[in-house]
């Protein structure tokens, strides 16, 4: 496979091109394409190698070649007092975030770059890391990326190129599996259906692209965000179609490029209820020590929904909400932050409560409305988890225990 001439390459670019060329061979790419932007998930500290890689690129004089957003780090740089981990991690984690900025990356520190001003347009060729963001970009925005992992996402940003394979190519974006869902009558919001459908496709579809039929017309972008996040956690999903909702699936025929589905899966109401019930490790009535929201990062619209549920009485347990710094800035600017704090909300910026030490009290169960948080936190933090709707989470915070509506 030809390695392209990299003009004004510099040593850092050559270093990254070497890596990318071998990677391209390994995935069967037939060449390289130019990308418009990148999203790099390199700011979570996995050990000295995380920092050594970036420091090497800086030593070689490297700078990213395309607009590059950054995923969450290990530290909330806006509220560093929230970090409850050890000093070595604080120092290394902070340096890792700063080193990426020195390479020219934008300090967005969010797992939801699609909610920022850098959200890609339909059809854009991009190189993104972070599984939930990859799924959202492909599925909801119609941009094109593969699941780029550590080192490779940054190598693409440093060269402005991505290997031409997988979802960069039109025919590979075709739906192959039809997933028909039946929504339980008592579910009045689309949110639960989205999480249940996402979990199901993650578990059952492998790497074959599903087209989901049956999600209601009022399913929002935030609902699809939650669907993609749990699908990408529970499985290897990089893209899904939601018929009638996502841009490459206005109807079933278009989603399948005119072909018949290779497989059809039906998920009835009973199974949908079972999936949601299975996300909790504890029963109703169990005491909780925290509520965790915002995995992926809360949008301003989600904060509005939360604000409507809060009242003057501060709940017994804290409600932690992860979000991006541009959202935090807007909440501060508009004066909404004060009311949220009075309502018992702790806004966590730049990072996430399941990847780093923020929660100090892990004695009780933790309640969440995030399928992704429910999936990862027991293993990462060793906590019991209760999954519920946003309204159930707020009611449970007030009661100090899991309450169901």
């Amino acid at each position: 496979m030809d390695r392209p001439e990299v003009i004004n390459g510099g040593d850092a670019t050559q270093f990254c091109m070497r890596l990318l060329a071998r990677f391209g061979e390994a995935v069967g790419a037939d060449g390289f394409i130019e990308i418009e932007q990148a999203h790099v998930d390199g700011c979570l500290y996995h050990g000295p190698v995380s920092l050594d890689f970036v420091e090497r690129l800086l030593t070689l004089g490297g700078r990213v070649k395309v607009p590059t957003t950054l995923n969450v780090g290990s530290i909330d740089l806006i509220h560093p007092e929230l970090f409850a981990g050890g000093e070595p991690l604080r120092t290394a984690g902070t340096r890792l975030m700063a080193a990426h900025e020195e390479l020219g990356c934008l300090p967005t520190f969010t797992c939801a770059p699609y909610q920022t001003m850098f959200k890609p347009r339909f059809g854009a060729q991009i190189a993104w890391g972070e599984s939930n963001a990859i799924v959202f970009a492909n599925s909801v925005l119609g941009a094109r990326t593969n699941r780029y992992g550590d080192f490779i996402d940054l190598a693409c940003a440093m060269t402005g190129l991505a290997p031409n394979y997988g979802l960069h190519i039109e025919i590979n974006r075709r739906a192959r599996i039809l997933v028909e869902i039946e929504i339980p009558d008592e579910w009045t919001e689309a949110a639960l259906a989205a999480v249940a459908a996402g979990h199901a496709i993650g578990q059952q579809c492998g790497d074959m692209i599903p087209a989901i039929a049956g999600l209601p017309a009022e399913t929002s972008g935030d609902d699809l965000k939650a669907l993609g996040a749990v699908a990408a956690s529970a499985g290897a999903v990089a893209m899904f179609h939601a018929i009638g909702l996502t841009p490459e699936a206005p109807d079933r025929r278009t989603a399948f490029h005119g072909e018949e589905p290779a497989r059809t899966i039906r998920i009835d109401a009973g199974e949908m209820r079972g999936i949601i019930a299975g996300l909790s490790t504890v029963a109703a009535g169990t005491p909780i020590s925290a509520v965790c929201l915002g995995t992926p990062h809360f949008s301003l619209a989600e904060f509005e929904r939360l604000e409507k549920l809060l009242d003057e009485e501060r709940p017994n347990v804290k409600i932690f909400v992860n979000t991006a710094r541009h959202v935090t800035a807007e909440l501060e600017r508009s004066g909404r932050m004060e009311a949220l704090k009075a309502g018992g909300v702790v806004v966590v910026t730049d990072t996430c409560t399941y990847v780093t030490a923020i929660l100090r009290d892990l004695s009780g169960a933790v309640m969440t409305n995030s399928g992704k948080w429910a999936y990862y936190a027991p293993g990462n933090l060793g906590v019991e988890v209760a999954f519920g709707s946003l309204a159930e989470c707020v009611a449970s915070a007030r009661a100090g225990k899991v309450v169901r509506s």
């Binding site: 998930d41 996995h46 550590d150």
Partner: protein
Amino acid sequence: MRAGRGSGSGSSVLAEAIRCGTAPSAIVMTSRDAIVMTGALVAAELYGRHCAIMLLEEADWVIGAGWRMAVVEAGEGLATIHGKNVK
């Protein structure tokens, strides 16, 4: 192992293990795995420490999986693997 599991942070985990000296000397697979390969390449570039990544046909892999010990000789492009104390 025949194949990796597809998690993007697998590259960091492998590279870190190679840096620490706790990684295996070689990883023998039946399919190309970009994540495993990336981890090994980064460790080689940064630290000059090597973990050979080998690709075998299924039939050969099955034979190798039955060995108690193996010796791997690896150069730039080609590696050979011999069984020791074969059952």
